[in-house]
Symmetry: D2
Subunit: 486 residues, 4 copies
């Protein structure tokens, strides 16, 4: 059982999950400079769980076993649980300014818990019991699970079974006595560098023809047959450069460390299969997961925005313009956007409701509104920060120049701001803003938990416009009999 950050890092070393990056197969994940910042961010969640004043947010009691467990392995039993989840996310991200990497797993666990219950109720299957066993193991061992949802999809205008290559969506290629063989690839997998288990589930609604694609299962991350290829991130190679400054956030990562996971005829024992062929539940899996995941974005991005505002605040003070009224006004705008984001996460949690299984899920409409705001506000907050930080954000010399015997003193002299602040400090702060606002970091806010259009479809579906039309009829004095032409 993992207790401390050290336990956690050791557990990863034991796994030896191979991950490809830059054409190399890397197995010493926690020690590799490309992956370490990601591992550090998850290790921080273990560290915070040991701090008395964070404990209430980080840990809770398992409804299955009565034991104290990590909230990341918890099935939400109340609105309070939903609220604590998002408060935990904002708090952690204020400490790391980095994707938590554990929420997709948590959300996948909750989705699987609620949907397997409903499948079993309808079909008399036993997915839910099998899943509870898996869950108890996770809680007991205090493991990290990640979710794998988005298939690579090929031609997006076609359903899984219509693709010219049948492997564009993960599917079962063989049934065996002891389990199934799956093939396909999942994109945008978050957190694999720090995970123990991966939970795989469908990416969209399915119809009968896609039956073989309707499969949900878990496997250990280091299972034979899975190839992980790490995605490039903005300025990724800076992590491998000497020095701290140019990294911006030297200890933690920028995003979730997304990769593509290719399942090349991977074996999954039956006990870890939580749905197979019940295609009519594929959409519900997506909806439950997506709603839970969209719930988070106002909180986790809110936490990162807190750090971004802090770095920006430091910079304007270093520049000597912290009191200018137009700058204060722009801070208000950043605050406003951040708190509107967070309000969404709080609201959809507060308005959560129980499912058939007893587990609570957030309000779908509000969770989608929260995520849709994220796809706009994170860009806008970054834009405002760029506005008031100044152009140096994009033209500053490298740390190597700064450390150079000849150049260093020139840079020190000429890139100084107000008296009393070191040039290094000022440069570090610019680099932090840079790392929080450019490229991969903002795309994550756009596409994590699904693209804007996915949120829009859910919102239109839930809005009940015909009912609203009737409210208008009543107020405008339109009687039913008038509704036929005179």
């Amino acid at each position: 059982m993992i207790r401390t950050p050290e336990d956690y890092v050791n557990s990863l070393k034991a796994l030896k999950t191979p991950i490809w990056a830059f054409g190399e197969k890397i197995e010493d994940i926690p020690d590799h400079p490309l992956f370490k910042p990601h591992v550090n961010a998850i290790a921080k969640t273990y560290e915070l769980a040991l701090e008395p004043e964070r404990e209430d947010l980080m840990n809770t009691v398992s409804h299955l076993t009565g034991e104290t467990i990590s909230r990341f392995n918890h099935i939400h039993q109340s609105r309070e649980d939903l609220l604590k989840k998002v408060k935990m996310l904002r708090m952690i991200n204020q400490q790391t300014a980095c994707c938590i990497q554990r929420c997709a797993g948590m959300d996948a666990l909750n989705a699987t818990y609620t949907v397997t219950y409903e499948i079993d109720q309808k079909h008399g299957t036993s997915y839910h019991e099998k899943f509870k066993e898996f869950l108890k193991m996770l809680q007991r061992e205090n493991l990290v699970t990640i979710g794998a949802m988005t298939d690579v999809k090929g031609d997006r205008s076609k359903k899984p079974s219509e693709q010219s290559d049948p492997d564009m969506f993960v599917h079962v290629v063989e049934e065996r006595d002891d389990g199934i063989i799956v093939r396909g690839a999942k994109a945008h997998l978050t957190g694999v560098t720090g995970a123990h288990q991966v939970l795989v589930f469908p990416t969209e609604n399915m119809s009968e023809g896609d039956k073989d694609y309707a499969v949900v299962f878990s496997v250990p991350v280091n299972t034979k047959g899975i190839t992980y290829i790490f995605g490039r991130q903005t300025n990724d190679t800076r992590k491998m450069e000497e020095g701290e400054m140019d990294k911006g956030n030297p200890q933690y990562a920028m995003v979730g460390g997304e990769c593509i996971a290719i399942f090349d005829d991977v074996f999954v024992p039956w006990e870890n299969v939580y749905m197979y062929k019940e295609y009519e539940y594929a959409g519900l899996f997506v909806e439950r997961f997506a709603t839970a995941h969209r719930q988070n974005y106002g909180a986790c991005k809110g936490g990162i925005a807190d750090v971004l505002m802090g770095a920006t605040y430091n910079i304007v003070n270093y520049n000597g313009v912290g009191k200018a009224s137009h700058i204060r006004d722009k801070f208000v705008e950043m605050i406003h956007l951040t708190e509107t984001l967070y309000s969404g996460s709080i609201a959809c949690s507060s308005e959560g409701h129980p499912t058939a299984s007893g587990a609570y899920v957030p309000d779908t409409m509000m969770a989608n509104a929260t995520k849709l705001n994220t796809t706009r506000f994170v860009y806008e907050i970054g834009r405002i920060s760029h506005d008031i930080c100044g152009g140096l954000l994009a033209t500053m010399p490298s740390e190597k120049d700064y450390r150079h015997s000849e150049l260093g003193s020139l840079i020190d002299k000429y890139l100084k701001g107000v008296d009393g602040v070191s040039t290094e400090q000022r440069m570090r702060m610019f680099r932090l803003v840079e790392s929080l606002t450019g490229g991969t970091a903002v795309v994550e806010a756009m596409h994590g938990a699904g693209p804007p259009q996915a949120q829009r479809i859910m919102m239109l579906r839930g809005a009940n416009l015909p009912m609203k039309g009737k409210l208008a009829d009543s107020i405008a004095g339109v009687k039913d009999e008038e509704k036929t032409s005179q």
Copy 2:
């Protein structure tokens, strides 16, 4: 004690509060066409309180007497109370598409309850007990109270005591054994046409020089010496025209029926004075009231937006374009803005906290963010509705033309939309959209509960940017010793 809508209307008739409009003094408020729509909207709150399925939202139990009372006269005892408040507001506005007019009173009661408690604790005064007596009377009699906050202010660059005319802010001009004499004027008073009592309190922070202006009191609306002059509203005289159609919302009003109230040496007995001279609490009154009031806007405007979306939905269907993808997309945007507004009201309620008096208040930051969003989104929702309704919104003939023997059939023929929908129905729906989106209606969303700048100041004050700066220091690896220049 008022129980039914009829009781309520009778109670207003008994008051005979005189209100000036168009140079006339009107005393038969509930029967006058200019005021009736406002009275109807409040009467609706009495009606809804009698409906079994609304009861839980509309009524609650008094923490003072244990009796069932209207929620509008309730002091919030929990987060649940705060949540029910905003749910009630959205629900009512879905029925009336009109300002509720009772929330400013409710918020003023709650503010006075909490602040008087704190004044008494510090100064050993007995304002809180006096106020509780007043409150019990309101609860028992089931009365409507309105709040009066905004002074007319004269030159806004000057404090009350610096104005060239000392009456630009309400103040005490004489102390007597049995009470005080007050003079001044309050602007933007909402709901006077349907009120029994008015609660008066300061509009801004005060310093010692403004002591005489630091006064809080209640009086019956029909108290001698108060002159109410009703403000003009967009298309106000349509209410006095024959027919229903051109009114848009023929039964209810558009806004709160704002007026200016001039206090010309009005006597207030000591038992109804809840603060006097404790100038250092003026700001807290404003903050408590404003926070409570800003909490509402995502809910009440959300309810009106529901009706607006409904009317717009009807129109695009009457036009035969309901299925066009760009129109559906614009609906999503309206839904999204509406639900973001409402999420704010829910979130600040969910994050409410108790004050010293035990009463709960919403989260200040989130309540302000909610209101600030309102000042933008209500305009934008209206703009989108205009976009998809079409130009007829602004060029349709009058009902008189439509009822004219000769013209009526021409209009009927030429302003028809799809088959199966009467022209009258279509025209009514356009008029409803017109009344919900033009002029006074949107200005209310801008300035009700204070102008945007007031929200911005509160948000900047609450954001703790220096703490956020420290988070950034820690993440960027800036050590304390580096903070002095090298």
Copy 3:
């Protein structure tokens, strides 16, 4: 020939065009309080044309006759003409803050001039010559022509010939030796109260089945068989109230005085028929007219925005807050939006090009971008003005109250702003802002010259995305041979 404003008003009196409003048939247009503000605005164009320093913008030389004519009756012969057109529009609107009402006519004349030329070239018809005769008469007599485009359309999902009522689009119901008989109705007709002639043309692309709907013609406004019904405007009845203050803009109107025009078997002589049955040119008529009309919006709304900014500037100074930095910042935003609008009008004029007829037309893409910005910015400029003016905008007493012997002095005392500014002046300024920003005024900016979707379609059509895709190929190093799958 009309020379002075007085000549102009007399010419209207002679016409006795009957217009219905509020169920009454009104023939004394220039004297009726409902119509007079519209007539005044056009009369102002005659007045400005006599001022030496405006002459260059207001007048020009006819390319047909060499005579000096009003620019409103001119066919643009150069980019300079296009530029002067929009400069004229902004200048006039700065004087009247009111729809000019003459630009739709001017644009219809230009569209008809260019398209008839092209029809004749293809079909050997003589529409262009007939039209030139009509045009010369207009130039010589110095008359006002209005355009009539938008049919009432019935079910918008159907083409003209598919409607259940064939009269939903104007069409020819009978051909006679001396002319044609037309039936149908045109909505949103601007400027009829001040017009001499109306030019009628189609509202959309047509196909062969709609041949009888493909008709363009002119008639005097007072032609037998046309019924005009005046549309309601926001606060329209204030124009008929005593006093000036509550009107906001007491001399001029708010919008174009839109009406619906019903053509009930109206006879048109052949000499005034400029297209009939050449359905394939219906779309070109719309495009030419719409482009010319969209060209204007940045200029005419820019001129109104100038007045709105001016009124807002006065108010914040009356309030004593003119120097507050957040207020100055909001002015910058209004200025920025206004100048962006105007830049669009200038740019599409500067990039104009000649047609086959030799007449110049503005750049289609930029004209559409200009109009689309108008549908957003006019709302936003109004919203910002509301923000900084304050709530009195929506709660001020009526002029009748202000003129009342008893109330007047109370209002004078309590609605005063800074010293040195009369209360009346302050109230007038609020009313001006109110009239410029509410209801009908903004809907005009949305739907005049076609709804946003019409602009969007034109822009997508003109953007040549495949060519842009090729630019990207070349830059990304994608070779043609790679474009087939490996």
Copy 4:
């Protein structure tokens, strides 16, 4: 004299300008992978100037010598010149999707030309003649000049002479018979890798105390005593990686290759000093340069936006979703924003006016509005592109993985889109979008030509609000005599 791209590259080799990057002093600029993409972009301007169909935009006739010269070395003699300038910029950027790097120099030349003329007129100096000689040399030799404006500024709340370190702004530290010695540093220098000459001028208004800082001069880039340190850019080290794909735009750069230039007691002969001590003209230098530079942004960023739209268009087609209506709608938005940007550049050129020297300058108000729009729209266009491209934008494997013997075929299989499009082509297109929208690229749009606040100040200054207030007075019927309190 440079004629061909090859001549140009050779001229750079001859200069051997040393530029520092990553702690190394690099002298083989045109061959170094970090700098080559920047050189290529300027070389392209020489190439385009030789193409017959581009010639008219790229070249013009010198008003000084009558010889055919590069437009980049031209002093604008008409509105037509101003228009051709911006058309040239959009055209070039469509070819390179990269900062042109030559416009700041062109704008500095034009600013110096006009301001020296005015200084000479007032002070009887001979700066203008000296400058014309310099200019003739540039035109004759066909050289590249860059501008150096932004000082490093230290504490931004202080003027140059108030800084604790007097070198925070470039200033004269010694006057000699043959010239001056200057010290200080200029930030954000664009284009040094491809330049021959640098023109240095002040960054802000100055007062008498800052006299020694009021200096304008030119020097060859390789002048002794200047240290250039190259700024880090987003993903800069990808330029030094093997392969083309991950660069996105393999041939050209992303931004201008900004550097800091430190002037460590650099000697400038008197003949290249174009202002010295005439501090009252420092502000005019800034205004003339800034206006000319802001004129460009709608055009150059418009050209880049064209390529971005093209790449996005390719991607959505590769994804199989090119026909989805929400995607088409988002393209319209990108088109609209792009054309609004470009309209600004056209409009301020079309409204240009001559200065005392006879040279034309663009309209200040509109040029500032154009740049301010750029600081918003470039971010928004990027955001929309991210929206519709999909998450792969941020999670795609490296080219090294793709070229790997084992992984390559897996990536080829699983990252394929629709049939008929190679995976490599799809990946290249994602990388192009990535490089055009992340980090440095957008910050350039924010801060190039000055931060938003600089534009706002200029716009407020030019708006003449008091005049607009008078327009409102006249329309609201406020007479002058009313303006004193009644």
